[in-house]
């Protein structure tokens, strides 16, 4: 059984921010990098599948050399192989999906696992777009996976916690939600061994982006609060109204 896990080295912004000269992204000096939290759950799920059904776990990422740190984390957790697709620069999830589709074509996995979303872009789109391009049956926001023969039964977690039980034909692509499992830690030995593994690199074919950031900026929130006037009774009434509206 070959499980392909698509992971992302995400970047986190601290309290200070400066933008690049062209104003379309944050200056990399102000960003810290780490393996996307959702992807560690996806990797763990892949490892559990391998433990139950045998086979191999392959981790893949789209990004520059620095993003190999995410792959090394997956290798340290126990992934068998890792690949990096170089040449995809943009934030556009469809662009990333196109590059990953080439890998899916080559690797012919039995199962593709992605995180629901990345913590830095929060598009929640790459996995599903990849499934669309690769022609794979797919379910998003999976909190439980039971593999059968030819199909799998999964739980899809809806807003408010309601669970949708779905049967999906295999091979399939699933986007994995946090909390589905408890990602295993990688001890120092595994981390050191993962440093030595050769990561295969391939160039992305089609790198054209469909969407493009034309300007990135710090939203002004200073005077954004709508002040609720009136006496406490009026304030309370408005609060109750907002709560009713916003908590679906």
């Amino acid at each position: 059984m070959r499980v392909l896990v698509c992971v992302k080295q995400v970047r986190a912004l601290g309290d200070e921010v400066e933008f690049t000269a062209d104003g379309t992204d944050v200056d990399p000096d102000y960003l810290d990098a780490a393996l996307n939290e959702w992807d560690s759950y996806a990797t763990e799920e892949a490892l559990c599948v391998r433990e139950a059904h045998g086979g191999e776990v392959v981790a893949v990422t789209c990004g520059p050399k620095e993003s190999e740190a995410a792959l090394r984390r997956c290798l340290a957790m126990g992934a068998d192989r890792a690949l990096r697709v170089d040449g995809v620069e943009s934030h556009d999830p469809l662009c990333v999906a196109r590059a990953l589709a080439e890998v899916v074509r080559e690797e012919s996995p039995d199962l593709v696992l992605c995180g629901v979303q990345s913590s830095d872009s929060v598009q929640a789109a790459t996995g599903t777009a990849l499934a669309g391009l690769a022609g794979l049956p797919h379910v998003a926001v999976v909190t439980k996976l039971e593999l059968g023969t030819g199909s799998a039964r999964v739980h899809r977690e809806l807003e408010g916690g309601l669970l949708d039980v779905v049967d999906v034909d295999l091979p399939a692509l699933l986007t994995i939600q946090t909390g589905i499992n408890q990602p295993r830690y990688a001890n120092l030995r595994a981390i050191k061994q993962a440093e030595q593994v050769e990561i295969a690199v391939r160039q992305a074919g089609d790198t054209a982006a469909g969407s493009r950031v034309r300007r990135m900026f710090v939203p002004s929130r200073g005077d954004a609060a709508e002040m609720l006037g009136g006496d406490p009774a009026e304030v309370a009434r408005r609060i109750a109204e907002i709560v009713r509206e916003r908590v679906a």
């Binding site: 912004l13 779905v166 939203p219 406490p232």
Partner: protein, 312 residues
């Protein structure tokens, strides 16, 4: 500039986000609402609100959401109508189909969008990046159709009764490869986990002392929320740290964060400023929390609490 809104429904009810999409679409162009379900007819009335020009029923698939059905149906509708903009909610359902359609058809796509504008013929969508700390304007050069997944609760839902005409699009779809079986209710949480709450009723040092807490917690529960606190309350030993929101406590992102008597120390803000809607009540008009709140009231929290008690 034509707009298609894909309605979202669950267990026979149209979800509120659909009406928000109509609101958003109205300012962009004539809105057609697409109803995809095995039998869309019972849902028509619920989507016929003011601002809807047309309702298109696409009878296919199952009663509940299935990814293949929605994708094929939407692709057929796009091929037929060639809308400029397709609006879906940024919801679990949409995460399962919208970007697949955009990818296959080579359309523009952006999700978690909280502002949309038109500049001539161009569609500009604004969304957040990097944990909500920055915003970005996204453009879609060369895309004839753009699919946008809009952030829920940003637009006010359209209301009233519309007078939309109803048309239908016939579909013949391949069978769904991911099929709905049944629903399961979520298990009740045994331990209070404030990170899972949709509504946090949060109090700070302004409550004065621990005696106020049982009553406040009861009110929070009646309002459908969970009580959380800022650091000083934990420091004083009035509540355990599992209830603490903040840098050294928990980071939360509920739909609604009601902050009562919380001034908004940097460390506290770090734990909650990505909440969907923040309402702050504080007697200090300069309190830092007003800088991140969506709604604020300069008032005594106990006065407001007293009034809330009458409502719940």
């Amino acid at each position: 500039m034509s707009v298609v809104v894909v309605a979202e429904h669950l267990r026979g009810e149209v979800r509120e986000v659909t009406h928000e999409l109509v609101s958003a679409g109205e300012s962009l162009g004539p809105v057609s609402v697409a109803l995809i379900a095995r039998d869309p007819t019972p849902l028509i009335a619920a989507v016929n609100v003011e601002g809807v020009s047309e309702i298109v029923t696409l009878a296919a698939g199952a009663d509940e959401f299935e990814s293949d059905t929605y994708e094929q149906a939407l692709e057929a509708l796009i091929a037929e109508r060639k809308p400029r903009i397709v609006l879906v909610g940024f919801t679990v359902n949409a995460m399962g189909y919208a970007s697949a359609v955009a990818a296959r058809l080579g359309l523009g796509f952006a999700s978690d969008v909280h502002q949309v504008s038109l500049e001539g013929d161009a569609v500009i969508a604004t969304r957040s990046f990097y944990g909500g700390k920055v915003d970005a304007e996204v453009e879609f050069p060369g895309a004839e159709t753009v699919i946008l997944a809009l952030r829920p609760t940003v637009w006010a839902p359209a209301e009233g009764v519309g007078s939309a005409g109803v048309s239908s699009l016939d579909l013949s779809l391949s069978p769904a490869r991911a099929r709905h079986v049944e629903f399961l209710e979520p298990a009740a949480a045994s331990d209070v986990d404030i990170t899972q709450a949709d509504f946090l009723f949060s109090v700070g040092r302004g409550i004065g002392d621990a005696d106020a807490l049982p009553e406040l917690e009861a009110l929070a529960t009646r309002m459908g929320g969970t009580l959380s606190v800022s650091r000083p309350v934990v420091d004083a030993g009035w509540m355990p740290s599992s209830r603490q929101v903040g840098q050294s406590g928990k980071t939360v992102k509920p739909k609604v964060y009601l902050a009562l008597g919380i001034s908004g120390a940097v460390q506290h803000l770090a734990g909650m400023k990505s909440s969907g809607t923040i309402i702050a009540v504080n007697t200090d008009p300069e309190a830092a929390i007003f800088g991140v709140a969506h709604y604020g009231a300069v008032a005594d929290l106990f006065d407001v609490v007293e009034e809330l008690e009458k409502l719940y």
